[in-house]
C-alpha cells in the first residue's frame, strides 16, 4: 500500500507544482516587474574592490561617491566648492582652515569629527599621487576642535583646494578614524561613510552585484548639484548595480525594462537603442576621455628624443580614433595634454608636434637619429575593447615610417604587470603601450600622472626624467592666478610635446542610455545616482 500512497502524493505534488508554475508564468508580466523606487543600473565593470582609497579603478571610485563624501566637491567650471566643509585661507596663503558643516553623521550613527577627516586625509595622501605632492608642502595637518581642520603649508602651494576636490581617480573620501587608520595597502574592513547611500553588505556579491539604500540621515547641501559639488538629494530608495558581461544582454535588459540605466553603451550597438522611444541615449561627460601612447624612456630606440618625435609624427590621431570609436560624432582630434574642452586645453605646440601621420618628417627624423632597426616592443591588450585598436593602428603607422615593430598580444592584466617592468625590452620589458584617461584625471599638469617626469623612482610607467618639466610643474603649483596657470600650462605643453613625454591621440566620449522613467540624470565625470527620480 505504501508505494501507492507515495505515487499518488508525488503525482499530486507534481501536478500542483506544474499548475502553479504555469499560473505564475501566465500571471507575471516579466518585462515589467515591480521595482518601486529601485534603480537598476549596469555599470562599466563589476565592483570587486570596495575600498576607494586602495585602488584607482573607476568603478571603485564610483562606488566611493555612493557611500563616502568628500570635504570639497568640484563643479562643472572645474572650481572647488564646499561639500562637507567650508574653508578659509590665511592672507599669506599658508594656512587653510576647514569647518565641517552641521548634521554630518556616519552610517553607523556617529557624528563626523575633524579627527576622522584628518585621519582620512592622511590615508588618502599616502595612496594618491596628488596627495603625496600636497603632503610634500604640508607642515601640519590637525584637528583644531571637533569641527575644524587646520592645514598649514611649509612652502607655497596653491593647488590645495583643487586636489581635495578632484573627482578622479582617487578622490579624498572621508571615513571614520577607526577605518582611516587602516594601512593604505590594506582594504578597510567596513563600508561606513557619510555619503548619500548606505552600502548593503549582506547583498554584496563581488563582481556581480552591489546594492545601496538611501541614507535617511544624510543632509544635502542647499546648492543645486553640479558634478560632485552641490546638494546630493536622493529621491530613490535603493540602487542596484548589476554586472552584465555581455553588452547585448544589457541592451536587451534595458529594452525590456529589467534595468534602468547602462553606463557605457558600445557605439556599434547604439543604433539598437536609438530607435526605441522609451530610451534616452546620452553622453554623461562631454569632456570624455583621452587616449594616448606612452614610450619607454629607459631603453633604445625611445631614449632618443628624435626617434620619439618620429614615432609621434608617424601616428595619426584620426586613424586611431576611427578604429577606436568609429562614429565621428563621439571623438575629436586633440593635441593638448589637458583635453581640448578644459580651461587649460590649448593648441600650443601642436602645429609642430602632433600625431598627424606625417610619414615624410618621421622618416627624416629617423634617418637623422640613425635608427638602426632596434625592435619596438609594443604591448597589445586583446581583451579590452577601449585599448585594443590603438596598438594595431599605431604599429602599422610606425612600420610605414620605417620602424621595426614587434607586437606582443596579451590580456590587459598581463600588460598591467608587464608595463611595471624596468627590464630591457628583450628581457621582459617593453617599448610602448597605450591607455586612456578620463579628462578630469589629466586636465592640469599636477593631476596628470603622465607629465610626472621624476624618472625611474617617481614617474608613471615609461619613466621620463626631465628636471626642466618638473620645475615647470612646481611653478604651476605655486601660480597664484588663473592667467598665470594658463600661461605655464602652455609652456609645459610646448616642452612636453617637443620631448614627447607621451603622445596624445585624441579625445572621445562614451555613451550612456537610460529609460525615460528616469529623470534628473546628472552629467559629469562620475556617474552619480543622487538627484534621480523614477516614475512608475
Amino acid at each position: 500500500m505504501q508505494p501507492k500512497v507515495v505515487m499518488k502524493s508525488t503525482s499530486i505534488t507534481a501536478r500542483t507544482l506544474l499548475s502553479a508554475t504555469l499560473l505564475g508564468l501566465g500571471a507575471l508580466s516579466f518585462s515589467a516587474e515591480s521595482q518601486a523606487q529601485t534603480v537598476n543600473a549596469v555599470m562599466h565593470s563589476g565592483v570587486r574592490i570596495i575600498d576607494p582609497i586602495l585602488t584607482t579603478a573607476h568603478i571603485t571610485r564610483n562606488h566611493g561617491y555612493m557611500v563616502f563624501d568628500t570635504l570639497l566637491g568640484m563643479n562643472e567650471e572645474f572650481q572647488p566648492q564646499p561639500q562637507m566643509a567650508d574653508w578659509e585661507i590665511s592672507d599669506d596663503g599658508m594656512v587653510y582652515t576647514f569647518t565641517l558643516r552641521d548634521g554630518l553623521t556616519w552610517h553607523d550613527g556617529e557624528a563626523v569629527t575633524a579627527a576622522d577627516c584628518v585621519a582620512s586625509l592622511e590615508r588618502w595622501a599616502k595612496r594618491d599621487s596628488g596627495g603625496l605632492m600636497l603632503m610634500n608642502h604640508v607642515e601640519s595637518l590637525e584637528a583644531s576642535d571637533e569641527r575644524t581642520i587646520t592645514l598649514t603649508l611649509s612652502s607655497p602651494f596653491s593647488y590645495v583646494l583643487e586636489l581635495l576636490a578632484k573627482p578622479s581617480s582617487v578622490p579624498a573620501f572621508m571615513m571614520p578614524e577607526r577605518l582611516a587608520s587602516t594601512s593604505p595597502e590594506e582594504a578597510i574592513p567596513e563600508q561606513i561613510g557619510s555619503g548619500p547611500f548606505r552600502f548593503v553588505a549582506d547583498e554584496f556579491q563581488p563582481g556581480n552585484r552591489v546594492v545601496y539604500t538611501k541614507f535617511e540621515e544624510y543632509v544635502p547641501r542647499d546648492e543645486p548639484p553640479s558634478w560632485t559639488a552641490g546638494g546630493k538629494v536622493v529621491n530613490v530608495d535603493r540602487v542596484e548595480w548589476i554586472t552584465m558581461p555581455d553588452q547585448q544582454t544589457a541592451i536587451n535588459a534595458l529594452g525590456s525594462g529589467d534595468i534602468d540605466f547602462i553606463e557605457q553603451v558600445p557605439l556599434d550597438l547604439a543604433p539598437l537603442l536609438e530607435t526605441n522611444d522609451d530610451l534616452i541615449l546620452g553622453t554623461l561627460s562631454e569632456m570624455g576621455s583621452q587616449t594616448m601612447g606612452r614610450m619607454n624612456f629607459l631603453y633604445p630606440p625611445f631614449d632618443d628624443v628624435r626617434i620619439r618625435q618620429a614615432a609621434m609624427l608617424a601616428m595619426n590621431q584620426e586613424d586611431v580614433l576611427a578604429a577606436l570609436v568609429g562614429n565621428a560624432d563621439y571623438y575629436e582630434t586633440c593635441g593638448s595634454f589637458f583635453g581640448c574642452t578644459t580651461p587649460l586645453g590649448s593648441d600650443a605646440g601642436t602645429d609642430t608636434w602632433m600625431a598627424t601621420g606625417d610619414l615624410e618628417r618621421a622618416r627624416e627624423l629617423l634617418e637623422e637619429a640613425g635608427y638602426d632597426g632596434t625592435p619596438v616592443v609594443m604591448l597589445q591588450p586583446t581583451d579590452v575593447a577601449t585599448v585594443s585598436p590603438q596598438p594595431v593602428v599605431a604599429a602599422q603607422a610606425l612600420r610605414q615610417a620605417g620602424f621595426n615593430v614587434e607586437m606582443q598580444p596579451m590580456d590587459w592584466q598581463t600588460l598591467v604587470t608587464r608595463r611595471a617592468s624596468q627590464n630591457d625590452p628583450a628581457d621582459g620589458g617593453w617599448n610602448m603601450f597605450f591607455t586612456n584617461w578620463i579628462i578630469p584625471e589629466v586636465w592640469n599638469p599636477i593631476v596628470n600622472p603622465m607629465l610626472n617626469a621624476q624618472g625611474r623612482e617617481g614617474s608613471f610607467f615609461g619613466w621620463p626624467k626631465d628636471e626642466e618639466l618638473e620645475a615647470m610643474r612646481l611653478d604651476f603649483a605655486m601660480a597664484e592666478s588663473d592667467e598665470e596657470r594658463e600661461r605655464i600650462a602652455e609652456v609645459i605643453q610646448v616642452h612636453a610635446l617637443e620631448q614627447v613625454i607621451y603622445v596624445p591621440l585624441g579625445d572621445y566620449r562614451s555613451v550612456s542610455s537610460w529609460t525615460n522613467q528616469l529623470d534628473g540624470v546628472l552629467k559629469g565625470p562620475v556617474p552619480v545616482f543622487w538627484n534621480l527620480t523614477k516614475s512608475e
Partner: protein, 313 residues
C-alpha cells in the same frame, strides 16, 4: 559496494593533491600580479611592494603553498585577494545559479534526448531518424551563444513570454525561478541533447538486433515495453557515462550561457578570477571542479551496478 566507495574516495585524495600543486604552480608561474591590479595605474614600486607584502605574495613559493595547503586542510579556502571576501562565501553565492542551471539543463537533456534517440533507433533509416539526426547535427554545430540569442529574440523580445536575463533563487518562488531558468537551460542543453540523442540511438541500434529483443517481441510485449524496458536498459551503460561526464562538463563550461543570460554563476566567477589573477578563488574553484569530476565519475560507476545486474563491486 561500500568498501569500493570508500576505496575510491581514498584514491581521490592523491589526485586532489596533485591538482592542488599543479594549479598553484601554474598560477604563480603565469604572468600577472594581483598587487598591480589592486593598486591601479598610479602605484609606485614601493606601494606595489607594500601591497604584495600585505597579501603575502612576497613569501617564497613553497611557503605560500604550504600555508595555503594548511588552511585548506582546516577547511579554509582563503580570502579573495581582490575583494577580501572569503572564497567559500563567493562560491556559495554562485553555486545555486550554476547548480540550478546545470540540473535543469540536464533534466531537459534526459527528457528530450533519450526519447528522441530511442525513436530514431526504432525508425532507423526512415524519415524520423533522419530528422532527429539532422537536428542533432544542428545542435552540435550552432554555437551556444547563437542559440541563446535566438531564444531570447523569440521568447523574450518578440513574444514577451519570458524575461531576457537574470536569475532568481528557488527560494523566491517557483514562477520567478522557472521563468528565468527555462531559456538558459534550453540553451545550455542544446549540445547535450544532440550528443545524448546520438549516443542513445547508437546504443539502441546495437541491442535492437539482439535475440532477447526478438524474443520479447515474439512474446507479444507492446513495442513501448520492448524499447524502454528491455532495449534501453541494456543500452544504458554508455548513455549513463555520457550523461555523467556531460553533467561535469556542463558545470565547468557554463560560462557562455551564464554571460548571455546574465546568470551570476561559477563560470563567470572563474573567468573574473583568472582575469584578475585572484589566486585563492581560482585554486578553490579548480579544486571544486576536480572534486566534482571525481564524485560524478564515482556515481556513474555505481550507477552501472543499478542498471546492469551483471556489474558488481
Amino acid at each position: 559496494m561500500f568498501a569500493y566507495f570508500i576505496r575510491r574516495i581514498l584514491a581521490s585524495i592523491p589526485v586532489m593533491l596533485v591538482v592542488a600543486l599543479f594549479v598553484f604552480l601554474l598560477l604563480r608561474l603565469s604572468p600577472g600580479d594581483p598587487a598591480a591590479i589592486i593598486a591601479g595605474d598610479m602605484a609606485s614600486p614601493t606601494q606595489l611592494a607594500n601591497i604584495r607584502a600585505a597579501l603575502g605574495l612576497d613569501q617564497p613559493l613553497h611557503i605560500q603553498f604550504f600555508v595555503w595547503l594548511g588552511e585548506l586542510v582546516r577547511g579554509n579556502f582563503g580570502t579573495s585577494l581582490i575583494s577580501q571576501t572569503p572564497v567559500l562565501t563567493m562560491i556559495g553565492q554562485r553555486l545555486e545559479p550554476t547548480g540550478s542551471l546545470a540540473v535543469v539543463a540536464m533534466l531537459f537533456t534526459v527528457i528530450i534526448a533519450i526519447p528522441l534517440g530511442v525513436i530514431a533507433a526504432w525508425c532507423h533509416g526512415r524519415f524520423l531518424d533522419k530528422l532527429v539526426m539532422s537536428a542533432s547535427v544542428v545542435g552540435f554545430s550552432v554555437p551556444v551563444f547563437v542559440i541563446g540569442y535566438l531564444l531570447i529574440q523569440l521568447f523574450a523580445l518578440e513574444l514577451g513570454w519570458l524575461p531576457v536575463q537574470g536569475f532568481r533563487s528557488l527560494s523566491e518562488g517557483i514562477a520567478p525561478f522557472a521563468s528565468r531558468i527555462v531559456l538558459p537551460a534550453l540553451t545550455l542543453s542544446s549540445i547535450y541533447i544532440a550528443l545524448i540523442a546520438r549516443m542513445t540511438r547508437a546504443s539502441m541500434l546495437e541491442v535492437l538486433d539482439e535475440d532477447y529483443i526478438r524474443t520479447a517481441r515474439a512474446k507479444g510485449l507492446p513495442e513501448r515495453a520492448v524499447l524502454f524496458r528491455h532495449a534501453l536498459r541494456n543500452a544504458a551503460v554508455p548513455i549513463l557515462t555520457v550523461i555523467g561526464t556531460g553533467f561535469a562538463l556542463m558545470i565547468s563550461g557554463v560560462v557562455v550561457t551564464e554571460s548571455v543570460f546574465n546568470i551570476p554563476g561559477l563560470g563567470r566567477l572563474i573567468v573574473d578570477a583568472v582575469l584578475a589573477r585572484d589566486y585563492p578563488v581560482i585554486q578553490a574553484l579548480i579544486l571544486l571542479t576536480a572534486g566534482l569530476y571525481v564524485i560524478i565519475n564515482l556515481l556513474i560507476d555505481l550507477s552501472y551496478a543499478i542498471t546492469d545486474p551483471r556489474i558488481r563491486y
